[in-house]
């Protein structure tokens, strides 16, 4: 199949789905549940171009500055993205550090393993009320929830990566004169990073899920908050608009990270990575 045909087919499929949606939405009773594409677009446009879009930045109780945007959406979007990126980076760093540490100290890993399994078995979403009580309705509780999801994904990958380094590789580098620290830097860390880089996509997805769910469960700002407000008034079009905004962000992250992944794991055997990488 040529490139043009492929994209034509994809465009046709999109058009077909939108037509089906419009056709369903023509019925007023049904439109209450499925919304209307036109109304969703209008809502998106309202978000982007009208309303109060100011965001006050505080440090402790001290007002730093106030950002002004041309629409309601921007401050909420900015908050959600900030939370996601923070959860992603902090979860990544902590997962990497703890994974390396436990991977290199098998005794400790054996002592801790039931606790780690238990912690990972806890459905993370149920932690949200706790986190809100501890950290308040601000971004900290959302970031924390995102971290609990990201941390374990990264941790298990890194731990596995460290444990599965080939013994011949280790023996070779040791015989070539590496001390323990060099062994970590030259063998363990790159092996662990290899696993991490190949799962960046999944990991940012988890950060997103944690953050938005956190917003649903108690917040004053963020896309999750907007969706929650709309849901309370049975405004299906606004809910759908919120979902579309989130989807676009997720896709954007996906594209950015896929590029990063390719660059960082050039040493890996490249497989055909067109569809369904997740």
């Amino acid at each position: 199949m040529s490139w043009t045909t492929l994209w034509l087919l994809r465009a046709a499929l999109l058009l077909a789905m939108l037509s089906l949606w419009s056709w369903l939405a023509a019925d007023d009773d049904l439109a209450f549940f499925v919304g209307h594409p036109h109304a969703v677009l209008q809502q998106l446009w309202r978000w982007l171009s009208t309303g109060n879009g100011s965001l006050e930045l505080y440090w402790r109780d001290h007002l730093l500055t106030t950002l002004n945007f041309p629409g309601t959406l921007y401050p909420h979007l900015l908050i959600t993205l900030t939370e996601t990126i923070l959860a992603f980076l902090l979860g990544l760093a902590s997962g990497l550090a703890v994974g390396l540490w436990l991977g290199l100290t098998p005794t400790l890993a054996r002592v801790l393993s039931p606790f780690i399994k238990a912690a990972n078995a806890v459905p993370r979403v149920v932690l949200a009320p706790l986190l809100v009580m501890w950290l308040g309705l601000g971004i900290a509780s959302k970031v924390a929830l995102g971290i609990t999801l990201v941390f374990f994904a990264v941790f298990f990958n890194v731990y596995q990566g460290v444990r599965e380094v080939s013994p011949a590789l280790l023996a070779n580098v040791r015989l070539l004169g590496a001390n323990r620290w060099q062994l970590v830097r030259i063998v363990y860390l790159p092996a662990a990073l290899g696993w991490v880089f190949s799962s960046l996509n999944t990991v940012i997805g988890l950060a997103f899920v944690g953050v938005v769910v956190g917003e649903y469960l108690g917040s004053t700002r963020g896309i999750g908050y907007l969706i929650l407000q709309a849901e309370a008034t049975f405004d299906v079009n606004t809910v759908l608009a919120g979902i579309i905004v989130l989807t676009c962000c997720a896709l954007l992250f996906d594209v950015l990270l896929a590029g990063l992944e390719r660059r960082l794991s050039a040493w890996r055997q490249q497989s055909d990575d067109e569809p369904g990488r997740r």
Binding site: A168, A171, N172, R174, L175, V187
Partner: protein, 261 residues
Amino acid sequence: MTSTLALEMLDVEARHDRLLALARVDLTVREGEFVCVLGPTGCGKSTLLDLAAGLKPAHGGQIRCHGKPLLGLNRHASYMFQHDALLPWRTALDNVSLPLQLRGLDKRHANQQAAQWLRRVGLTDVPDHYPHQLSGGMRKRVALAQALIHNASLLLMDEPFAALDAQTRQAMQQLLLELWGERRKSVLFVTHDLDEAITLADRVLVFNAGPASRCIEDIRIPLPRPRDTLSLRKDPESAALYQRLWHALGHLPPTPTNDRG
């Protein structure tokens, strides 16, 4: 007298769990000598190299390297493994320069020397390739360059060319002979290929099938050096040696201690 011995094993035993892999092995490698260990697959030949490298402790007997008892990792040894031990996330050049970088040489100088070694093993076009982009034979060349640049006085090789096709294997043997001839380091080379042993070695130690394998014959290979892998094929003397090794391998006495623990 011990000073002329690069490696000496006296009455060495090794076990895997409770299974006796090596029983009462006596073995010496003189300075600058190329010794092949020949034996059927699974006779504990790899274990022998692990012992010599200090990767595993012996369960009995004594191992000396340059006259000193071997304690822990053997710092005089360089090991070429049967399977790839190149770092997959480093390019060919970075893999070869690794031993120099570990020694604290700055990256520029290390890479200069590494590039020279890559040329010497016949790889000029691929310094920036990662191992997965290289063929099996090319990876072996990189591994050989890495082992040689380390400049250890004892080179341990565990069937390094076994996985290659026949032509590539012969080319690699020729390359090894040429590079070894320049510096004459001591080599302990494990193989199950009779031709390979005759082509390369000064001395061939024949081991019997495991468990509890040991050296059952010590055969000198008096073929003149430098050797040419191609002409050795038709050489009557090497044919006679082949027969001798064949008999040594084929008419094995029954293993005396066949206890499986």
